[in-house]
Amino acid sequence: MTYLIKGETGDWEVVIGMEVHAQVIANSKLFSGAATNFGAEPNSQVSIVDAAMPGMLPVPNEHVVAQAIKTGLGLNSKINHTSVFERKNYFYPDLPQGYQISQFEHPIVGEGVIEIDLPDGSTKEIGITRLHLEQDAGKSVHDQHPSKSFVDLNRSGCALMEIVSEPDIRSPEEAVAYLSKIRMILRYLETCDGNMDEGSMRADVNISVRKLGDELGTRAEIKNVNSLKAVQQAIDYEVPRQIEIIEDGGKVVQETRLWDPAKNETRSMRSKEEAQDYRYFPDPDLLPLHVSQEQIDEIKAALPELPDQKKHRFMGAFGLSLYDASVLIAERERAQYFETAANGNDAKLTANWVINELLGALNKDENKAITQSPVSAEHIGALTALISDNTISGKIAKDVFAEMYKTGKKPADIVEEKGLKQVTDTGAIETIIDEVIAENPDNVAAYKGGKDKLFGFFVGQVMKKSQGKANPAAVNELLKAKLS
């Protein structure tokens, strides 16, 4: 469905491209041997390279290069055999070099495409423009002193991958879905932990508006958009702002704006246009980076199954709906849990139990992760097996599940202990039916007199008497025969 915003002069289309900064999982930094742990004491993970002491030489981390290639392959993108590190020049106290070593004209990863899953159950392809490697900056703390800022260089020099999308995104929902999918891919690949709270994944959102069919409008780059919710909110704020400017006869200024989550608004960050003049040039300290086809092939051969491959396999091999498959692949551990549970069982039924009952229960239980589930994958599998072979009904299974969640016990043990086994023995059911008929002569007469609706009443009475254990299909069949 096309997402359009109504303005005073007609409908506006939203055009969005995203830049995702993802900190690479590595022990040490991009160009130095200092550690990369989050939350360490200030400046305790800084080498003299990261502090930009004169005369220091950057030496690239081979694992980081491999991680970038792996991520590029995961984004179905072209890996460039030659890439070049360049200096991006700007001044800021948390950038001691006075420039950031980045890649500009020749990034390590070129064009690709990923598939995003939308809330309405459809999918869409979003183009990847490039992925390049660069140094992260340090961190400034502004709120500790009235006239001073404090600088911690622990993050300075950590390896970042900047993943740039094509301006293919057309709504806030697509932007959220895109960011979720990027995070999912990075987590599956274990190239970035995707923790937006800790800043190890950050997003800049480029937004412009246009009338359908028009040329691209002037874009604003929104920085500091650091959660999925913020992506949605920043777009919801920025789009009407731009439309209003244009409809009032003004022009959108190409600028960088900051998302302020506290005030729920974007605001201009820079006044001077020339501040954007980074004067890139190849870093004379670093030769071009060459990657061989053998190295690429080796990394490709060791790739794990990616989210979209898993999704399509779940749909094809297990007959799951796109929605169910999307929910199950959202986390690698969740997909793994499902596969273990579904092993040898009815996959669709297992998917229902994992999604509706287990994820629901975990959600209510302090939003626990599936890895903290008190119910093991094997036990969920055993529970669906008990339903499939008619040992218990779906209704009783919910009680068994609640007990499993509380105690962690095996479903078969719970069924045994509580005597919940489904009664399929027709003799036993018939005895109960006879009792119910004997106890309700008036209703029997009314039913026979044409009040068909009373059939449900009899089923209910029989189920109640059997404490829910009678096989519903058998009850229906036997009741019909007895009452006719």
Partner: protein
Amino acid sequence: MSLDKETARKVARLSHLEMSEEELERRVPQLNTIMNWIEQLSEVDTDNVEPLANVANIELQLRKDEITDGGDAQKVLANAPEETQGFFVVPKIVEQEG
């Protein structure tokens, strides 16, 4: 191509170099001498010639992903004009990074 005073002023500002009017007057012709020399180089036909990154034909050296450095905040802070609790202390900055 020649460099005018406004461009020189802009480049100086981007580089955080303070230049007086007199100095700009003096530097612009000097810079233009260099620019003209580089201009001359572009007369050479370099079509189909790969950029040369070094003349020794060496490859970029990479290192293993091991922690071999850091762990000494005091050493890093030794030359800082001002520090507190392990942080560098600088005049307050309002504009954000770019």
